[in-house]
């Protein structure tokens, strides 16, 4: 019997196999990954300093244990070079593999800003445990970190570094933090809380060049302002990994386009989920978060085990891991017309996004309001 082949050993790839094993113990499974093939929790990367964990301690299950647990063959440090869906096969730098079903769980790549200067190449981005180990290594003995991007990941790292007593400057072109997630008053509240924790924000500011200066860096913004840092971390967003799929003729939009069964339109034996996937047909949902991945993994495992199952997404609030300002956001479904209504709470802001009929369809909760996340989340309309 040809195996189910999983490309990627992130949360998406591993969760599919974990769920599949609850339904089918015997099916041969091969996991191919560029990583070392162990399991770690990516969300823990941006609060590891606060929880006192080193990169080594973040590795939850090493490869051998994981392979035994999942009854799967894991091929680490292996690059997939071509998908050959017409032949039900893939090519890797370690040889060709034929599959019965193929699952693309290839994740997303950090975006890079075009930056001039001889320091630009030393800018770090943290999108997996190996990146994080490099980051922690370079952080050793350093005092001052510059973060490019005040989105979710940038703000989480900023808060975490402050907890460890490191100076942090955060730069963003936008006028506020968490630009795509928070309406203005909630954003203002969030900014003040993080500033009170010592984070220095520089909004409406984009970094044009980074030059080496001694054993650190000098950052120059487009207005000509100059800023010093020992280390520069980029957190300006992610781009779903679509290059292999596109080269193989699979339909690609922002992510790899799959239907609600997580199957590709042209090759029904090829599935995608996680950060690389665009779910629900062209123009569908790209949701690079844990909860959608767990929902997709459960549905896909059933399909792989012989019961075709559509994925259903309830509304899934995202918790922003910034202890200085507890925050939860549940973005309104794409394309829904409406407006934010923001109201202050004891020590926070509760913002509801109301559709044209006045029904709440999304929310952003900061400070004391964040405690309402679960109750409010359950009352939001489903996403898919």
């Amino acid at each position: 019997m040809k195996p189910v082949v999983i490309l990627g050993s992130g949360l998406a790839g591993i969760s599919v196999v974990r769920e599949l094993r609850k339904l089918d113990a015997a099916r041969p499974v091969i996991i191919v990954t560029l990583d070392d093939g162990g399991f770690y929790s990516k969300p823990n990367l941006s609060n590891a300093l606060a929880s006192g964990k080193s990169a080594v301690q973040l590795a939850l299950t090493p490869r051998e244990g994981l392979a035994a647990q999942l009854k799967a063959e894991i091929r680490p440090h292996t690059r997939v070079t071509h998908l050959l869906p017409a032949e039900s096969a893939i090519e890797t730098d370690g040889g060709r593999i034929e599959y019965e079903k193929l699952v693309l769980a290839l994740g997303a790549q950090p975006l890079r800003l075009p930056i001039e200067g001889d320091g630009a190449a030393a800018v770090l981005a943290v999108n997996n445990l190996a990146d994080y180990a490099v980051f922690r290594d370079r952080l050793e003995g350093r005092q001052r970190v510059a973060i490019l991007g005040a989105g979710l990941i940038g703000c989480e790292f900023a808060n975490d570094l402050r907890i460890a007593g490191i100076e942090v400057d955060v730069f963003d072109l936008a006028p506020q933090p968490l630009g795509r997630l928070l309406p203005p008053r909630a954003a203002e509240f969030f900014r003040r809380k993080l500033e009170a924790a010592g984070v220095r924000f520089h909004f409406d500011t984009s970094i044009a060049r980074i030059d080496r200066l001694g054993d650190g860096f000098r950052l120059t913004d487009k207005q000509g302002g100059s800023h010093a840092a020992d280390l520069v971390l980029s957190a300006v967003g992610l781009k779903p990994e679509t290059t292999l799929a596109q080269a193989a003729g699979l339909k690609v939009g922002r992510g790899i386009v799959v239907d609600r069964r997580l199957a590709s339109a042209d090759f029904p034996e090829v599935f995608a989920l996680g950060d690389c996937a665009e779910v629900g047909g062209a123009g569908g949902l790209v949701l690079p978060f844990v909860l959608p991945i767990m929902a997709a993994a459960r549905a896909l495992a059933k399909t792989l085990a012989g019961t075709p199952t559509d994925v259903a997404y309830p509304a899934m609030p995202v918790v922003v891991k910034t202890p200085a300002c507890p925050t939860a956001v549940c973005p309104p479904p794409a394309g829904v017309q409406g407006a934010w209504r923001e109201e202050p709470t004891a020590d926070g802001v509760k913002a509801l996004f109301e559709d044209a009929a006045g029904r709440p369809v999304g929310f952003a909760l900061t400070g004391s309001a964040a405690a309402e996340r679960q109750a409010l989340g359950a009352s939001m309309p489903a996403w898919l």
Binding site: L60, V290, M294, Q374
Partner: protein, 54 residues
């Protein structure tokens, strides 16, 4: 009393300690936690926990 670990983020639910911040009293057994409870750290469901040896 047993312990259960979130397979996503590693959070450990300890029956002895419960999760009082989220309405689960100390001493609450795993079976008695409502299915609507979710991981306080990462939000995944109760079903995404596994029992761990103490």
């Amino acid at each position: 009393m047993k312990k259960y670990m979130c397979i996503v983020c590693g959070y450990v639910y300890d029956e002895v300690a419960g999760d009082p911040e989220h309405g689960i009293a100390a001493g609450t057994r795993w079976e008695d936690i409502p299915g609507s409870w979710s991981c306080p750290d990462c939000g995944v469901a109760k079903a995404d926990f596994e029992m761990v040896a103490v």
